[in-house]
């Protein structure tokens, strides 16, 4: 059977090698472990051996061509039709080179390069580094963690921590009155701080602070305990609102062409792909392309710097049964509309089934929320900290609009943006919205889905 031979990852190689000389030609017999091709890496010429007994079908990388590790270099075939036991292992997916144009600043902290061998066990080094820098992504194997801690569940009657005791002392708080949300019901430092903030009012600074009276749940009230997810969302919202100076902007988008397109292709798409084609993939496409042009909108505030994110990972707000969750479509700019539709369907399905993985929810650089699905026409969203902005797509309504000095019925959709005013001003955010608008408005029967 035929198979692809890829340039293997070797101890001293960098990300790429140049084909020096093919030692066999198409049609030649191959013997396992016999040298097949000379590859030049960093002034070392190494001979890559054939992994199988068989024959060389086709050369895919020509002499003189430089290819990344893992790239296909030849098509080969085993002699007896069986899989050779020692095939060259499939390479990691080769990351695409950095976008053309000015490279974004990486900062003095730097980042971990992926997909290269660091050094060999007993040495190895190269001169000029040419590999494409890829920002860090958490992607290692996950063996069980080395547990260095002692028993951790303190139980409800555990000793309060030093921080809690100190704060209780400083604020005259009776710990018996404080409810704990920590492990095993213990009182955390944040519980105490919240308690102190809740009971204090500006006028009442008497010498002896009274312990606060928690109102009992009675006929007029019902107290609903917080789920962990709700607590997390609450903390995240408070953090976002308290740390990021929000500004908002809205723009109207004429999606008449888009509506017509979707109506036209929807049925056939569903039959072919098994996926319902909503407006979201189109919105994500317009969004992702616009983010490429406006890198400061795909960024984070870094204290003393602005951190531009090289990848475009769009988080989609999903109402899962247990709460709001934001799974991420990574590298959304590299997917077609059809690809986005499929990715979106997969993520929302898994979100609703509570089957998202850690990778699904991390690495997001921008968030999109389809508030229009619930009928909203204007929103003032809260940014997903620590991103630079968030966008909503509002409900599509047919409205009477003025076109060429005449009234026309057009399908209109507002898009609303909240942005971190430390990073971008009205000019940048306005330009970004215009870019999204113009892309959406240009969608029509000629827009390719693939």
């Amino acid at each position: 059977m035929a198979m692809i031979l890829e340039l293997p990852h070797v101890g001293e190689s960098v990300v790429e090698g140049t084909i020096g000389k093919w030692l066999k030609q198409p049609g030649d017999t191959l013997t396992r472990f016999e040298p097949l091709v000379e590859v030049i890496t960093d002034k070392v010429t190494m001979e890559v051996p054939s992994p199988i007994d068989g024959s060389l079908l086709k050369i895919l990388a020509q002499e003189g061509e430089t290819v990344p590790m893992g790239a296909p270099i030849a098509e080969i075939e085993t002699a007896d039709g069986s899989n050779g036991a020692a095939l060259v292992p499939a390479a990691e997916p080769t990351p695409a080179p950095a976008a053309a144009g000015q490279p974004a600043p990486v900062g003095t902290t730097g980042y971990l390069v992926k997909n290269i061998n660091p050094v060999g066990p007993t040495g190895g080094g190269v001169e000029a580094e040419q590999e494409s820098p890829i920002p860090a992504q958490a992607q290692q194997q996950a063996p069980p963690p080395t547990d260095q801690s002692t028993a951790e569940a303190p139980g409800g009657a555990s000793r309060p921590s030093p921080a809690v005791r100190r704060l209780a002392r400083e604020h005259g708080v009776d710990l018996a009155q404080v409810s704990g949300t920590g492990l095993g019901g213990r009182i955390t430092r944040d519980d105490l701080i919240r308690h102190v903030e809740a009971k204090s009012t500006p006028a009442e600074t008497t010498a002896k602070p009274q312990p606060p009276r928690q109102p009992d749940a009675g006929a007029d009230e019902q107290h609903v305990p917080l789920t962990p997810v709700r607590r997390m969302i609450a903390d995240a919202m408070v953090r976002s609102v308290s740390q990021i100076p929000h500004a908002w902007s809205t723009i109207e988008v004429d999606v008449t062409g888009l509506v017509a397109l979707r109506t036209q292709v929807r049925t056939a798409f569903e039959q072919r792909e098994g996926v319902d084609l909503t407006y979201m993939p189109f919105a994500i496409k317009a969004l992702a392309e616009s983010l490429k042009e406006h890198p400061t909108v795909n960024a984070s505030w870094g204290g003393d710097k602005i951190i531009l994110k090289r990848r475009i990972n769009v988080g989609i707000a999903v109402a899962a049964p247990y709460g709001l969750v934001v799974p991420v479509i990574h590298d959304a700019d590299r997917l077609s509309i059809a690809g986005l539709a499929t990715a979106l369907r997969d993520l929302t399905q898994r979100a609703r089934q509570n089957k998202l993985t850690i990778e699904d929810v991390q690495g997001g650089t921008f968030t999109l929320n389809n508030t229009g699905a619930l009928g909203s026409t204007i929103s003032y969203p809260i940014i997903n900290h620590p991103q630079a902005a968030i966008l909503t797509t509002e409900a599509i309504q047919k409205r009477a609009m003025v076109r060429d000095d005449a009234i026309a019925i057009r399908s209109m959709m507002n898009i609303c943006m909240a942005f971190d005013h430390r990073i971008n001003d009205g000019a940048e955010s306005g330009a970004f919205l215009q870019a999204v608008k113009s892309r959406l408005e240009s969608m029509g029967p000629d827009t390719p889905l693939y």
Binding site: T108, I116, P118, G125
Partner: protein, 327 residues
């Protein structure tokens, strides 16, 4: 700014300091003609000649002893130990002699020696090309110990180390040599020895780390940010003298501390930091001080599964952060 990797940053620091001061010279195995087994010293012999970039015999004890004698005579040697695992033959010269020469001469003798030591695992180095040796030097009065993790830090600190008149054990994690890239400014700069760096500001948990692990900690901090866990990452950069102020300020702010290092957990640098925090930030702790470190197993086994079992990594750190947050 140019983007370089760690080995390029090391090479730049060496070249600049050798240009600046003719008393600076390099010695070690394979450092000259070959440019070092990691190419740290590549090209230097062409620029400065073989009297200042010396290929020594294979003999770590004498590499250390000769450097010491030259330093007594006023030179500023930079001996290289090719792998940290090979430093043990030099221990008497290093701990018995180099660390004590100034104290034992009431300050008359100065020892401006920088011992460069590639260290650390995760590169299938087995028991003899992976060791973390820092804790023993950290423990020894009279030595300074530096372990930067980024190109920017390593260049700035190596230059400072070379200009320092005390002996410095300068640790370079070999896995970061080509795996970590970052910006280097044009023009002259140094970084003070003994100053940690907050690489990521946060509110809920402090991580203290150094070396390769720093980068996994940063990845882990990003990973949990979406779960509402905001992590502050402190890069020690210098192990000795320890920047206690930065560490304590951070722990006082967050109330929770996770220490991450690749070195074996018992008696490692993390143990010292935990004791320090228990002493001087006790009233601010809202949870136990925890360490995620290499296990107490000879560093480190060769087979892939065993090395993975040994090494802390981003996922293990993420789990530890979640446990800290949940306390």
């Amino acid at each position: 700014m140019a983007v370089k990797n760690v080995i390029e940053a090391v090479r730049e620091a060496l070249r600049e300091e050798m240009q600046r001061d003719p008393k600076v010279f390099i010695m070690g195995e394979d450092v000259g003609q070959r440019g070092g087994v990691f190419l740290a010293t590549q090209g230097l012999i062409d620029e400065f000649g073989e009297s200042r970039v010396i290929d020594t015999p294979l003999a770590e004890a004498s590499i250390m002893g000769i450097a010491l004698g030259a330093a007594f005579r006023g030179m500023r040697p930079i001996p290289e130990v090719q792998f940290s695992d090979f430093i043990w033959p030099a221990m008497n010269q290093l701990i018995g002699e180099t660390a004590r020469a100034c104290y034992g001469s009431n300050g008359v003798l100065q020892v401006p020696v920088v011992i460069r030591v590639p260290y650390g695992g995760g590169i299938r180095g087995g028991l003899f090309h992976s060791q973390n040796v820092e804790s023993i030097f950290f423990h020894t009065p009279g030595l300074k110990v530096i372990a930067p993790a980024t190109p920017y830090d390593i260049k700035g600190l190596l230059k400072s180390a070379i200009r320092d008149n005390s002996p410095v054990v300068f640790l370079e994690h070999k896995k970061t040599y080509r795996l970590v890239r970052g910006e280097l400014p044009e023009g002259e700069y140094t970084i003070p020895i003994g100053q940690a760096d907050v690489k990521r500001a946060g509110e809920h948990i402090t991580i203290v780390s150094y070396g390769l692990m720093l980068h996994y900690c940063l990845e882990a901090a990003e990973a949990v940010a979406g779960e509402g866990i905001d992590v502050e990452v402190v890069d020690l950069r210098t192990l000795k003298p320890l920047d206690t102020e930065t560490v304590l300020n951070s722990v006082k702010k967050t109330g929770k501390l996770l220490i991450v290092h690749e070195d074996n957990v018992t008696g490692g640098v993390g143990a010292e930091i935990a004791a320090l925090v228990a002493d001087e930030a006790f009233e601010y702790l809202d949870g136990p001080v925890r360490r995620l470190c290499g296990p107490d197993v000879p560093t480190m086994p060769f087979a892939q599964t065993l090395e993975d079992e040994y090494m802390p990594n981003t996922d293990k750190i993420v789990e530890a952060l979640r446990r800290q947050a949940a306390y």
